[in-house]
Each structure stands twice: as C-alpha cells, then as structure tokens.
Amino acid sequence: MAKHATPLLDELEKGPWPSFVTDLKRQAEKSPQCWDILGQMELSYKDRITHWKHGGIVGVFGYGGGIVGRYSDSPDKFPGVAHFHTVRLNQPSSKFYRTDMLRKVCDIWEKRGSGMTNFHGSTGDLVLLGTTTDQLEPLFYQMTHELNWDLGGSGSNLRTPSCCLGKARCEYACYDTQAACYGLTMKYQDEIHRPAFPYKFKFKFSGCPNDCVASIARSDLSVIGTWRDDIRIDQAMVKKYMAGEIPAEGNAHGSRNWGKFDIQKEVINLCPTGCMSLDGGALKIDNANCTRCMHCINVMPRALRPGTDTGATILCGAKAPILEGAQFATMIIPFMKIDPENEFEELVELIEKIWDWWMEVGKNRERVGETMQRLGLPTFLEVMELDPLPQHVKEPRSNPYVFWKEEEVEGGWERNVKEFRKRHNM
C-alpha cells in the first residue's frame, strides 16, 4: 500500500518506454523503504530541486573507495531513506552475467539494502542504490565470501576499468579487451580501493576505432584496437554487396528505403583519405594512406576485415568539461601489442610512468589531461621518454615560441654583457 501520494511521478507510468516508477512501486511491496524513495522523489518533482544532502564519507574498513555516502535532507518525512548509501560492485568485464550469480546479488541486496540498482553506473559498475551504514560491512563480507566479488572505485583513485564486448561477440576486436580490462583491474586492486591520486583516473578498453565504450572521450588512459597491415578484402563478397545481395552495414538502415547500394557513393566517396578505388570491378585500397577509420569495414563487414597484425593505439587525457573544458584523449603511442602472455608489460610500464609523473606534478583535483595541457605535450613526451612523432599533432604549431633548452644551443646561455658592449655601443 502506497505510503505517499505521488501524482507527479504517476504521470511517468504512462507511455511505451519502461517506467522506473512502476518498477519502484513493484519493489516497494517487498522493500518498504522504496515508498520513501518515491516520496522524496515526488517532493523533488514538486519542489524542482534535490533533497539529498551534500556528501558524507562512509566506506568499509581499509578501503577509501567503492561506497558513496548519501543522506536525505528530510529524514523525518522519509525515514526509509535517511541513510541511502551507494555500493559500487566491480562489474565483470563487458557485463556478461550468469543468472545464478545475479540472483545471489539480488538476494543479498534484498536483505542488505533498498532493492534498487543501476545496471550500470556511468563508469561501468553494478550499482546498488541505497543502504544504511550498519549494512555496509556485512554486505561486503557476503559479497567477498559468498560470491568472490569485490567493490569498484570511487574518489581520487583508479576508477573501475571497463571494456567493450570485444572478441566475445564482435568481429572487429583487434585485441583481447576483456583480458586487458580484467588483467589490469586485478593488478591494480590497491589503486582502485585506496585513493592516492590527485584525482580520478580511468582506463577504458575498446577493441577497434568505433570505440563502443567511448574511451577516447572519457578515459585518462584509452586503449583502442587497431592494425598496421592491410585490410583483408574478399573480392567475391565485395561483388555481392555491389549486386545488392547483402545489406549494407549489416542491415543497420533496414527500416528505410535508401535505394540500391552504391559502393562509389556509400564507401569510396566517404573514405576520409580517398584511398579506395574500383579497378575493373575489384575494390582497391591504398593501405599506406588508410587511417583505419572503420567506415568501409562497418558498411561491408562480410567483404572487409581489419588486418591481422593487430594491437592498440594508446591515447591519454580525456575528460568531461569540469573544469578546464572537455578534452579528448591525445594520441601518445601509435601502435602497441597488447599481450596477455607478458601481462601487458609495455602498457603497464607506460601506466606507471604516467602515474609517477602525475602524482608528482598534478595539482589537487587535476585530471591528467589537464596536467598535460598545463605543462605541455612536449614535456609529457619527454618525461614518458617517447620520441616526438608527426602523428602526435594534427598540425605543427603556428607560433614560434619554442622553449629551447640551454644544452640545445651552441655555447650555452652564459654570456658576458661587458664583452658584448665592447662591440656594440648603447
């Protein structure tokens, strides 16, 4: 039986999209604190403002991340949500689940919390939404003992890494995103659970330049699959696409009649480098001029495939606008082999070099991309001991204000002004 009238929220039970309000009411029959979620949310809908208090530091012993404290500013009206902390569970790589495991999570959460969740939080965690401080330790105990399942990150630490579905169900994956995500998650448990950084740091692993986990926009360290040999072509299948026997882009445009497939217009003319042509009915790719954007492969996946000498491009420093403005990740290493066999040795070495530098020079609450911008890409490359490449920039600088170093200039900077004056009167 509803505890609070919710006329505004009830409007969100209408319409074809699944309603979180209907769902909350359903859960409230089993978890009475959900009535107070509905009640407080209705009050926010009426007042047009949040009713959650600022912050609150809670956690489990020994961890500085994984739990986000939350308290109601109207606990008298809504005692069920007076304490309403969030628990971040580290999701399995690429978010496949076995139902017996999920059901156990549900059973624990039914006993220990509100019964509401997010599948998933923006960074990728499985989020359990709303519990009291006294339930945190028993919940953590049950998760680790009964399910072998740990918390994710929050605060100024390594945030829970995430990856695309990769080789599990995608033909484009150029390296094993799950293995990299899981391997580095396990290697850096301490960095995930105990904040020691200037601010948050995110890893995201995408298997190809389509970047389905938005790593180039969201991660401090972005690992995006690519290849350095030739795109594989099956000319017989190209002909089938040209004859309209296979739908373009896996039938992604199937609900609208765009007319007959035109390889010239839809593939060759849209290639950003113009490196494709038709030669006597055969598709030719000038691979030396290809920038591996994926468009031709996306449109004709049965005729074209990434090459076989695969690895990843490493980019660094993406973030949302807070504070200095949004940044995409900057290309740092054009090609790196991502190899589970050597425990991602090269990548690990780079990561730790970046952390060492950022922890030394980064300001409080400064993302590494902002540190890079403040101190400059040349400085960053020098500290990382990386050779400067034309690939590092879209274009060379247009100002002449180079920070020359003394050792680069013949004779150094020490000069005698008196000797100078002997030859040059004032």
């Binding site: 909350l24 076995r98 999570v105 169900r169 033909e171 949302a320 200095e324």
Partner: protein, 376 residues
Amino acid sequence: MAYDPNNPMADRITDIGPPHYEQMFPPVIKNNYGKWLYHEILQPGVLVHVSETGDECYTVRVGSARLISIEHVRELCDIADKHCGGYLRFTTRNNVEFMVDSKAKVKPLLDDLASRGNKFPVGGTGAGVTNIVHTQGWVHCHTPATDASGVVKAVMDELFEYFTSMSLPAQVRIALACCLNMCGAVHASDIAILGIHRKPPMIDHDTITGVCELPLAIAACPLGAIKPAKATLANGDEIKTVSVNAERCMFCGNCYTMCPSMPLADPEGDGIAILVGGKVSNSKSAPKFSKLVIPYLPNHPPRWPEVVQSVKKILVAYAKNANKYERLGEWAERIGWEKFFEACDIPFTIKSIDDYRLAYNTWRTTTQFKFTSHVK
C-alpha cells in the same frame, strides 16, 4: 562462517576484484571467442553473429530504465533461464541482451518478451535511437540541476518509434547528465541533455566553519570568483568565510562539490541545456564535442515538455535532411551551423558563442559563410 559484527576484521577478504568474465559467458560465446566473422541485424533489436566455426549467436536487445529493481533483475533472470541457458548481458548504453544459439529460439523469446507489457521493448540497433545513457538526478544525487530518470523516460516515450526502427541516416546517441560534472559524459553525444544552474552559490556563513576547508573552496573556482572574506554571525562571532564575485560565476558548481555551505541549486535557476553534434567513434570523421545550441529550458516535471519537443525537433530535422551514414554533427558541419539553426528552427542566441577557454578556436575567421535568415 558468517559475518561477526563484534569482530568485523576476522576472516577478511579484500582486493579480489570482480568475478572472472569467462565464467559469465554462455557456451556459444565461450566456444567462439575471437572467431566471429560477421553480423547482421535481422530486424530492429535482433542481431545474428556468425562464427568461423559455423556457430551462430542470435541476440535480442531490449531497452531498460537503468534504474531497476531486483524484482526486475529477477524477471530478466527468469527470461534468461527459460530461453538462454541462464546467461544475459548488458550493453554500455544500459540495454539488456538475451542471446540464443539457434534461430528457432528467437521467436519464442520475442513472444515471451512481448507478453510482459512494456517492460522489455525490443530495439536499439542500427540507424536508430538507442537507450539514453544518464546519471542519477533527483533519485540519488546531491548536486543535480535536473532529474535524470524522469527526463529520460519522457524523451524515450516520445522517441519510441526510433528505438524500434532503423530509419535514421545513422545511429543517434542521446545522453543526459544532470549537472556540469557530467557523470554521464555527454560532451561527445549526438544529442546531449545537460542540467545547468543559473544562480551563483549562496554562502551559508553559519555552517561554513565546520564543514568547509576554505582554501579548497577558493581553489575550486576556475575563474577566481571566490575570495577569502570575514563575516559576523548573529551571535557576534567573527568568522573566516568566503565571498563570491557573482559576475564572474559561470555556474559550474565546482565550489559546491568542495564546500557544502555553498549550495547553488534552485527551482527557477536550474534547467536544461541542449548540446548536439558530438560523436565518439573515429569512423569517417574524428571524434567531436557536442555544441551548445539551446542554452536553457526550464525544469518542468513530470514530463519536461520543452525538452522533449526540442529533442524531437532536432531529430526530425536531421532525419529529413542528412545523408545516409551522416552523423548529426557531420550533417551540421556539412551544411554549416548557421544552416543547422535554420533547419531545426532553433533561435540562435549569444549564449552559443564561446567565451570560455580556447573560445577563439570556434570564432569564424573567414569570409566563407552562408547567408541565412539570421543576417538582416
């Protein structure tokens, strides 16, 4: 041994990470790991992936509210147990995917999903609108300028036909973040719905001493608008506090993140901005940021009609005018942003002209432009 509240550190297990992904894979995924050849979308929301082993994996993708109950999760598990051997997955955009290993199993699964009301809409594939990634909003966040789940529900109700079809020029990624912290990272979305504040922070001198580290609050302001100050409380105590130069404030809310005594949320001040034309993929053109085209729309719960109609208007203009494969931002760049405002019937305001960091990069420094109705 069960948890002992008197001895919480006994038998403690830490730093074990998530369960290994492989134990979560259904057999068809495990057996064909790294062997997939190609995929095809059989109908909106239904995909087939074909392996070099000859195996096929059929996937049915359904929308979800993201904010879901364990009762809902249990129902997802019931469906997966009945049809999918006890496995399922979630996408990065909060859709649920049910996978089966033969075509014969697809229809019973679709029929079952359809029999359960509107809880499991099938779609979200190809050149359509897929699920909206979003943040917490009023259901759980302490800094939002708008709600998240309610706005998403209202927008998805209106755009439902684009979720269940593939009739757009390309995929359209919509995202919502309920404040400028952008937990939802909406800065590279085709259409971004962003909660914004428009009133500078208040300063609660009565509480600031106990809860706020003043140097951090001062340093939090990217524009140097916060300065150390003194105030006299009602009881006569003189305290150290801060003052805000409101003219310099750009309403980012970073001060409130650092200092609970500087709240800025407000029913009249807060609302929603619309940014468009971003993308993450490297396909064809490089990744792009979303650009601010509507600076403010009011918070009108429960269904945010102004926001819903604005998003719809942009989407319809894009659907009508863009070329096949062209993302929203690619279309806007091809026709020119001056034409974009005209095509979408959105008034251009001075708020769309950048005056923050690197603003100059967006100012026009050529004689090349198109004459539109804006030029009188």
